[in-house]
Amino acid sequence: MSSLQGAAPVTDGQPPQVPAKAGEDAPRASSPAGRPRRRATDWRKRLEIGILSGPAIIVFVAFVIFPVFLAAYYGFFRWKGFGAPTDFVGLGNYKVIFADSAFHDVLVHNAIIVVLSLVIQGPIAVAVALLLNQKIRGRSLIRVLIFVPYVIAEVIVATGWSLMLQTNGAVNDLLQAVGLGAFRADWLADPKIAIWSLMVIISWKYIGFAVILFLAGLQGIPEELSEAAAIDGASYWQIQRRITLPLLGPTIRIWAFLSIIGSLQLFDLVYIIWGQYVASTAGTSTMATYMVANGRTSGNYGYGNAVAVVMFLISLVIALIYQRFVLRRDMAGAVTQGAK
């Protein structure tokens, strides 16, 4: 998951070099059969393509795609994980998944995490980025320090935070010490509070990344625009609203995409803080923890793999929808390659 949250945005679009080439793009998604045999250089070209893309494709297919299909295959069985699967149940596992109230809970939790991540991190990160987007002394240092939580391993983050949030841990102790003892709570165990604690930890870890991303985006906006507007008499806030934010739009949309995907696949933090059993009781279980609890931990490997496939499909559908409707005007679609 951390590798996802760590991706930088793709181009925000319309540098003058690209468009004229659009017409030359090869038709998409067709099989590589039927290569034009007109020139000998095409053979050379195919060879180059093969050599350059070969290793990557081999590694990727072997270690990412192949396990995906294997998981899908296992999902059609009831299987304890030993030997080869023999008990074929077709779509049986999927029927159980969608009927399980625990799975419904999990969908709700994931939805909450997705939405709250966007809502909490987005505005704050934009505001902070706007604020820090000045060539002031110490800018480098500030940027480094903000990015620190992102760089730290999730294991470490989870360990540290769960110690701090224990009933007799640092946070409650601090509240008591400053006289806010009435606010002490069961940060991790109380089902009404736990999801908010989770959101705080997630936001803490990933907001620095959002800020850096937005800073990068802001630096791509030519100064001349805001200077011209200032000359025309626009106030600071008008400039931000009318010029900066819209131009920052593509970056924000890419960040949102990555945030959504990452939120859907959240696992490490929840698993390490709440353990494999009580996440659902505390109201913080996610699709991934559900999969591990009902799959690997219970020895139901067929079922677990079916849940994995469901996760994959949900993420894929959301990604495709997002690409098509939100990112479409920004770039030549990453997943669908559907640019015209």
């Binding site: 009831r78 304890k80 159980v96 009933t167 089902p191 009580v278 659902s280 009781t281 505390a282 020895g299």
Partner: protein
């Protein structure tokens, strides 16, 4: 420009070299088997701390010394991770040769998959005479023995005698009513009456098992292992008992995220540091508590009493929950050396050392004479008197149902479910696997 080409070239070369090098380092997967009479066996156990870990290291070393050409590679795995890692390893045919066996339905699943060696014929006579037949029976399926028992772990309530005295409790409770009274008295002092590590689910579930033990007959409990059906109303009654008990708020605050054995904040740790007065646990607990006390020595005022009796219920009086720790050989392990090791660990000397390390009851009856702690003596006494000792229900019913049962109990304790929901969760789990 030339600089860049060389740079790219070096990059590629470096990548290839690094990949090759790392492929060669650290060896491939561990292989057990004999090469020229040399045998290497992998050994997985769940003691990650102090004396337990040291005990296994010494025992393996002693065995290696007595058996030329045999090497044992030990891996200590955190208890909560063990089942998962074992599953994965077995699933890919990479099972360790010797490993901790929980027994019950978990063992049955492994036997069904042909992953465990049948050691019925390999148990030495010496071992057979020293070990209680019931313990061996506990590790058998259909008359075939699949694991060597190494200790018996009957369950009951461990308590701090000092804290009891401070709260004005003179004798340990024998009935539920007395337990409730004790809980109220303890609440007036500054400690949690009962510590429970619900984060790991099973500690909380053990309360349910014991209520079920009191409410349900031996027959009902055993039958459910094969049918995986929980229709008998005694199951719901047990849930209601637990719900009522929980309503008196006997557990430590934040028990939902308290682990059982890890760190000073765990339930064992709370007991070790006199922050809680009682804990329902099996006979491994004194050892765990000992490692969590401030001076890392056994808790001097530790006491034990059996799970209280209830009014009514079909369970036999004095029945106990009890696990057996055993060690199994994987089906692919070298038979001679592996079974020799299993026999070795049940010899009197090793068993006495086991007791020293774990403060648990060794299975070798001759070694049991070495027990000094009064509380362990009480445990042994109750165990010998018990009309019926059941395996822990999550072990008995297998990992799938067991996990659902445990999680269902936690949900109920957290106020998110009813006793009926526990049964529902168990039924749903049966459908998933």
């Amino acid at each position: 420009m030339k600089r860049k080409i060389r740079g790219a070239g070096i990059l590629a070369l470096g990548a290839a070299t690094a990949l090759l090098a790392t492929g060669c380092t650290a060896g491939g997967g561990d292989n057990s088997g004999s090469n020229d009479g040399k045998v290497t066996m992998t050994f997985w156990h769940n003691s990650t701390t102090g004396p337990g870990k040291a005990f296994w290291e010494k025992t393996a070393a002693d065995f290696e010394a007595a058996h030329q050409g045999v090497t044992i590679k030990i891996q200590s795995i955190q208890n909560e991770d063990l089942d998962g890692k074992l599953q994965t390893a077995m699933n890919s045919g990479d099972a360790p040769d010797i490993f901790l066996q929980r027994g019950g339905g978990k063992m049955a699943a492994m036997v069904d998959a042909g992953q465990v060696m049948d050691i019925t014929d390999s148990i030495s006579d010496e071992t057979k005479s020293a070990i209680n037949e019931g313990a061996l029976k506990g590790e058998s399926i259909d008359g075939k023995i699949y694991a060597m028992p190494i200790d018996v772990l009957p369950e009951g309530i461990y308590y701090s005698q000092d804290l009891f005295k401070k709260a004005g409790i003179d004798t340990p409770p024998a009935t539920m009513d007395e337990l409730n009274a004790a809980v109220s008295k303890l609440k007036t002092t500054d400690v949690a009456p009962i510590a429970v590590g619900a984060k790991d689910a099973w500690p909380a579930a053990h309360w349910y098992y014991n209520f079920a033990l009191r409410e349900c007959s031996e027959d009902t409990l055993q039958k459910a292992a094969s049918t995986l059906k929980f229709d008998n109303p005694c199951w719901i009654k047990a849930g209601e008992d637990l719900k009522a008990f929980n309503a008196t708020n006997p557990f430590n605050k934040g028990f939902l995220t308290t682990s059982a054995q890890q760190g000073a904040g765990s339930s064992a740790g709370l007991l070790a540091n006199h922050k809680a007065a009682m804990e329902l646990m099996g006979a491994w607990d004194p050892g765990v508590i000992a490692s969590l006390t401030p001076d890392q020595k056994p808790l001097p005022d530790l006491g034990w009493f059996a799970f209280p009796s209830i009014n009514g219920g079909e369970g036999a009086e004095g029945a106990m929950m009890g696990g057996i720790d055993g060690y199994s050989c994987s089906a692919k392990a070298p038979k001679k050396e592996c079974t020799e090791f299993l026999n070795y660990i049940t010899t009197k000397d090793v068993q006495e050392a086991y007791y020293e390390a774990f403060h648990a009851i060794p299975v070798n009856t001759a070694a049991q004479g070495v027990i000094t702690e009064p509380y362990l003596k009480s445990v042994l006494e109750a165990y010998n008197k018990a009309p019926f000792v059941s395996q822990y229900l999550d072990t008995l019913y297998g990992q799938n149902v067991g996990n659902a049962l445990n999680t269902g109990v936690v949900n109920m304790l957290a106020g998110k479910g009813s006793p009926q929901d526990i049964i529902k969760a168990v039924d749903e789990a049966a459908a998933k696997g």
